[in-house]
């Protein structure tokens, strides 16, 4: 995380030795991460999302302050991409895992058909009436298996490495942004092909779904940055 230029600059700071600088940077990063991780975990549960947001923003402020103070902390852009993708992975894992594996729990029966009633009737139509349970939309279970067991665990692992500024984290972040793009291209095609089933009688058809989901669709916008960022800032 500390580059040669940073350490040289730190060594020049009046009255602060290199070791002090490194220690202060580590502490500042840890303090910011504590808020950022807490906020992301809460937001990742979806139900407690509104509580998590201010915690996350507080972490971001601490991160920015540390950067302005000249400490060698993680760049803001890396922080934002890392946590945004982690949040995407956590949210989708939570929602889809309870639909696939715990569709008869109170949380599922309240949360998912409500989502279905508002935006996507794939989560309302014959909910828990088909043999597997949960959402009955054509193809939905296949997406859930792919997401829960392959794409999202890989994505969350990539985020951890990426936020630690590890080389493997950077490489896997690239992989997971591409897989995210593949998933959304397929999922949106499914939504369009079965639009009659998924949007009939919902409160906010089409526009409501897009407003809600566009934030999850966007992480692959980071790909040009990830492919061309100076790889030397990520350490082996």
């Amino acid at each position: 995380m500390t580059t040669t230029d940073d350490t040289a600059a730190a060594a020049d700071l009046g009255g602060i030795g290199l070791d002090d600088h490194v220690e202060r940077s580590r502490q500042a990063q840890r303090a910011a991460d504590r808020w950022l991780i807490g906020g992301t975990i809460l937001m990742g549960t979806a139900i407690l999302g509104i509580v998590g947001l201010p915690l996350f923003l507080r972490g971001l402020v601490l991160q920015r302050r540390a950067q302005l103070a000249g400490l060698s902390v993680r760049p803001i852009i890396v922080t934002l991409i890392g946590y945004m993708v982690m949040l995407d992975g956590a949210l989708n894992t939570f929602g889809w895992a309870i639909d696939l594996l715990a569709s008869h729990t109170y949380a599922s029966r309240i949360f998912l058909p409500t989502w279905g009633n508002m935006f996507d009737a794939g989560y309302f139509w014959h909910y828990n009436n088909l043999p597997v349970g949960g959402a009955g939309a054509p193809g939905e279970k296949a997406w859930e298996v792919l997401g829960i067991f392959v794409v999202f665990p890989m994505r969350i692992a990539a985020c951890i490495g990426f936020l630690q500024m590890k080389r493997w984290g950077h490489q896997w972040m690239i992989v997971t942004c591409w897989t995210g793009m593949l998933m959304w291209v397929g999922y949106v095609a499914n939504m369009t092909v079965y639009a009659d089933l998924r949007f009939t009688s919902v409160v906010f058809p089409v526009v409501g779904w897009w407003v809600y989901d566009i934030f999850y669709i966007t992480p692959f916008v980071a790909l040009p940055y990830l492919h061309t960022v100076n790889r030397e800032i990520f350490s082996d």
């Binding site: 793009m181 959304w184 291209v185 949106v188 095609a189 939504m191 369009t192 639009a195 009659d196 949007f199 009939t200 009688s201 919902v202 058809p205 089409v206 526009v207 897009w210 669709i217 692959f220 916008v221 790909l223 040009p224 492919h227 061309t228």
Partner: protein, 39 residues
């Protein structure tokens, strides 16, 4: 950023434009269906 990275970034942005174009097309298609159907 060197020349190779600049070309790479341009190509990746072009890919993004294509993908966002596809997503926009799907959105407009759904809107058209919405206008026609009694949802």
């Amino acid at each position: 950023m060197n020349q190779q990275d600049r070309v790479k970034r341009r190509a990746l942005i072009a890919v993004q434009v294509v993908i966002y174009g596809y997503l926009l097309t799907m959105f407009l298609l759904q809107l058209r269906l919405y206008a026609q159907r009694d949802w």
